[in-house]
């Protein structure tokens, strides 16, 4: 007899684990896995740096023989394709004697795409698929968009005043938001594979775009420039927002400004998520956060964004919006 509420709790925990690998696991999806026996968590895993070990392998490694007869919660269907880099997780689970596997999302990768579940079922394992699939897809959105649209998931991050300014007219923007908001923004950087700025921002601010948080210094993402000119050392350049599809090992991309780069991505309808750090200040005339996005009718602006999160960060407020329309 299964307990749906408990299943949801455990899957939510697996999804939270999967978030730990976001921006780190590429080119593999940031999967999370929890193994539970008799109401006790006996194994936890998330896809590690560069994609190996997989979440399931890591969780099984922690569980050892306690995996026998246990239930595994995994945010993505266990892989079934052969790889020189590691074992097939569906087979690992069957061999470990896992009795039941609860999967959030079926793997859209055609090399697995249901075969992992089939393999498990054929070996007598109970398999359930689809629990909290939307939440899992959101946590692995870079992988999902790469599979479905052939491009990374893109977040636009802005630090704004109440009246939507990102800097004074002379460009000064230190500081609009406070230390709590800045620390959160650095944590978000660590969860992206790459960060992009426009040429104007590079020239004006020479941003280092690194993660300045204790213990996460090595999580600084790659630095990208939206520019037709050659990139300086330590940077890569793309000429056009659509070129993000060609980026290797970038599933989660954060656009950090300026207004023209933000507008270019919005015009191309390539922003999936808005990460707005809002300070309780007024600036008045100054630099706007977003340039011309080609809007000619206000009606077209509506219905595109829904708020998914909101929290205080010291004196500031974080507002997260997700796109409502598919690209």
């Amino acid at each position: 007899m299964n307990d749906i509420a408990a299943d949801r709790r455990y899957m939510a925990a697996a999804i939270a684990l999967s978030e730990r690998g976001r921006g780190l696991s590429t080119p593999n999806p940031n999967v999370g896995c929890l193994i539970v026996r008799d109401g006790h968590v006996v194994g936890r895993g998330w896809t590690q740096k560069g994609g190996r070990p997989h979440a399931e392998a890591q969780a099984l490694d922690e569980a050892l023989d306690r995996a026998e007869g246990a239930t595994a919660y995994v945010t993505l269907e266990p892989c079934f394709h052969l790889s020189p880099r590691g074992p097939r997780c569906a087979d690992l689970m069957a061999r470990a004697g896992v009795a039941r596997v609860v999967i959030a999302l079926r793997d859209p990768d055609p090399r697995t795409d249901g075969q992992g579940a089939t393999w498990l079922r054929e070996r007598g394992v109970t398999v359930e698929m689809g629990l909290m699939a939307a939440e899992a897809a959101e946590a692995m959105r870079g992988f999902v968009l790469r599979q479905t649209l052939g491009r990374p998931a893109v977040t636009l991050k802005l630090g704004l005043s109440l009246d939507g300014r990102i800097a004074l007219a002379d460009g000064s923007s230190r500081w609009i938001t406070g230390p709590d908001a800045r620390a959160h923004a650095h944590l978000e950087r660590a969860r992206h594979d790459a960060i992009l700025v426009g040429g104007g921002t590079l020239r004006a601010d020479a941003p280092s775009l690194d993660v300045r948080l204790p213990g996460l210094e090595d999580r600084s993402p790659r630095r990208l420039l939206l520019s037709r000119s050659p990139a300086p050392e330590g940077w890569s350049a793309i000429a056009d927002p659509e070129d993000i599809a060609t980026l290797d090992r970038v599933d989660h991309l954060m656009v950090e400004g300026g207004a023209e780069a933000a507008a270019a991505f919005l015009r191309a309808d390539l922003i999936d998520r808005l990460l707005l750090y809002r300070a309780p200040i007024l600036i008045g005339s100054g630099m706007a956060g977003i340039g011309d996005i080609g809007l000619v009718d206000l009606a077209d602006a509506h219905g595109r964004w829904r708020q998914t999160e909101e929290r205080r960060l010291g004196p500031d407020r974080l507002e997260v919006y997700a796109r409502t329309r598919s690209a």
Copy 2:
């Protein structure tokens, strides 16, 4: 034996009643009054249109002889000055046999200024002063600022996109916010004595600035223009934000735009409250809500505003900020 928690509950109710008279009671303060006997509310009052009857007179009129031995909660010290327009409330209360009067705010008007409380005490009435004084002062802020600074309380209202735009570049702003936010904004209009716009907004939008809510049509405030040119019929003009001090019977003023009028009031440090209706849309290049406020150093922008309220209004969000610095 008094019950502090009950006292606070009743005073909060009296403050809520006082809000009903905001924008209506001028030139008198929008006072609220609740009379309670043996745990039952026996009288309620708030200052009526044009200032009479006073809240206490109205509440006593409802209570009749149940006021005998009761406790009265009143947001402002009962008046003691002689007026041809009505009785002195301190005397009315003593004559009605009220046993105890709990007052939030001492009346700063020098014609009363403690004399109402003294009169009551001399007649054997228990008087307590200061309960929830800050909250009461906030509800009667127009009166308080008129007494202390010689000018009305000023609210700046803006309907904004996430990126701080109030209209497209061509000026079109119908609609940024939805019907729930617009209804709320109309209710706020009804609670102000006058609404001001700049000359550009008058020319571009010819706003009627009336209250279009069923039952509140007669609560439409006076229309003011910030302009050195003569005002059209049905409007009055002031040349400068400081001129609000000269306005007769305006204790609560709302500035509705545009960007230059908003900036002029902010430059003069004459905005006490921000009423921001935020729509979940991006506009990009377009009209900013606030023009040049003379900010030259970001540090000077901080610490001026604290959020006092936040709520959803359909798809939009209302954010209310109060000034933290005294003018």
